[in-house]
Symmetry: C2
Subunit: 336 residues, 2 copies
């Protein structure tokens, strides 16, 4: 989108991650005009980070030949824990040393005093898909972001479920197994994240191999390859039964988590984002994974809630976060 074709007002979306920051200048239709990515350099601390984000926000504006006065508002997405109304980063797991930092106001300070809307990164990604990705056709949706962990976002008619303590939509932390044998994630026993994240797939695979299960994965490990969901997916595509069963079980766990979520929210759609997707729509395995998720949900969900429920992969990839952050800023515009 050229600046001339862009629909105003314009917004800047910033997506802060543990290793990199994504920044885009976005128009009123959700189209990216200019974009840049910059390393987080978390070890330099939060004030330096806020300065980098503010400067990068101004840089994408300047790159488009515009000035801060052309920008309606900035949207800032960060990992939690956080206090959204206060604009505070509390204890982000992936940003050690960035505790109790007034990130919203410090980014504003470094970005020519442009007003900033603050959001959780998984919720922002959800809003990105809702605004101009897979979810654009939905009135309400649940998004699960499958990566190192399982992030979640829930939107009902433009309303994000942030919760009363900025801990809403933590869909990775619903409990799908209450038995004493339940698996653990960082936050407790039996959480969906302990079954359907990349971390969980690796852990489950290692346990099966350690238990002596036969698989071509054994040869891969012997050859020095590291166990990752990509490796498991590759061996599954080559027909290894153990790898295939790991993919299927992951789909089943995910389906069970989705059943709980749709019985609570009853949305139009569920969107699966994140890199832990066995190739997504682009591969046969990824399409099979999605089909198995859908099967589990159809089998186990209430008929009314599943009859015309759509479960699909996200379409914006890693752009969803900054685009969604800009979209959330747009909801707060005109500024009060």
């Amino acid at each position: 989108v050229s600046v001339d074709a862009a629909e105003r007002p314009l917004f800047v979306g910033v997506d802060l991650g543990g290793t990199s920051i994504k920044i885009g200048l976005i128009d009123n239709q959700g189209r990216t005009i200019t974009y840049r990515q910059t390393p987080t350099l978390a070890e330099e601390g939060p004030e330096a980070g806020a300065q980098r984000m503010g400067e990068a926000a101004l840089a994408v504006v300047a790159e488009a030949g515009l000035s801060p006065a052309d920008v309606g508002r900035i949207g800032l997405a960060t990992p939690g824990t956080m206090d959204i109304p206060a604009g505070m980063l509390l204890e982000p797991l992936n940003l050690p040393g960035w505790r109790d930092f007034p990130i919203r106001d410090r980014v504003r300070h470094h970005a020519a005093d442009l007003p900033v809307t603050y959001a959780n990164d998984a919720n922002a990604a959800c809003y990105g898909e809702y605004w101009c990705g897979t979810g654009a056709k939905f009135h309400s949706m649940v998004m699960l972001t499958l990566g190192t962990g399982v992030g979640g976002g829930i939107i009902i008619g433009d309303m994000l479920i942030n919760g009363e303590h900025s801990s809403g939509s933590e869909c990775g932390h619903i409990i799908i197994d209450s038995s004493p044998q339940a698996r653990w994630c960082h936050f407790g026993a039996g959480h969906l994240e302990a079954y359907a994240s990349a971390t969980a797939v690796v852990a489950r695979t290692k346990e099966l191999l350690e238990a002596g299960r036969k698989s071509t994965l054994v040869d891969c490990v012997a050859a020095g390859e590291e166990i990752t969901p990509i490796l498991v997916g590759r061996e599954a595509e080559r027909g290894d039964p153990l790898a295939m069963s790991i993919v299927s079980e992951t789909a089943r766990y995910l389906g069970i988590g989705i059943v709980s979520l749709i019985h609570v929210i009853d949305p139009n759609g569920v969107v699966l984002g994140g890199a832990m997707n066995f190739g997504g729509e682009a591969t046969k395995l990824g399409r099979r994974f999605l089909a198995e998720v859908r099967e589990t949900v159809q089998e186990r969900g209430l008929a009314a809630a599943t009859r015309d429920l759509q479960i699909e992969y996200a379409s914006l990839g890693s752009d969803a976060g900054y685009v969604g952050a800009a979209g959330l800023a747009r909801l707060d515009y005109p500024n009060q």
Copy 2:
């Protein structure tokens, strides 16, 4: 509340159950002015039922010395399944023969053409507690109604989560156990309802007794008593270890379900309604049951979501449904 002291506008709330219908004339503060209860007589069919409801609505108005012109709107709560926007009862389990019935408009027809707001009964009970019961201090809340089944309601800032197919807030049907050993309710395996409803408590108790577990409950059964949560509670209060463990396990299951719900919604409070409460606040056992639910949630929930979360018993008892239905009618008033 006398009619003179009532704050206008006034509303009529109707709560349709499988065996009885509760009808109240409610003022703008949620206070009941006149009330009556009438048998459902489900076997006479839905049209006769709609007529009874319409006539009862007019009767509580007349009893207060008022006319239909004094009523702003009627709120009608029914069990599901249902299509709320269409005003249709679809397939209510407890009302055989009342399928695919335009209940909202038929009640309106029989109630002097007063406009009717249609709601799910568990959601209406939730709104009743939110408007003028335990939940009056909350901005957002989740309610679980523990009875034959486990009903649910979710409110975020006056917005009820009805879902896209009138199947939102079905909190009894989140999956808390994905193992092959999971218990079943009417709608599937591993649902909270299969663990924490009255039906589930009876089934779990019978299984333990059939497995030969020692308990004073064995003597009760031998003496011809029927196993009910009330009996289990009585024996638990008398110190029977098995009965006590059944109560504790029920609290633990409920706590696990609540953890999933608060990770999705992150509300201010969770309200426990329904008769399956081992005596509720009125008894030591009921208070202990609640304390054990709270312990499980504190132990297993995310710190941010549980730190100032309140979990309490409902306070309106079986009035919550018709009061809440009137409250939902009030949200739709003035009529469009």
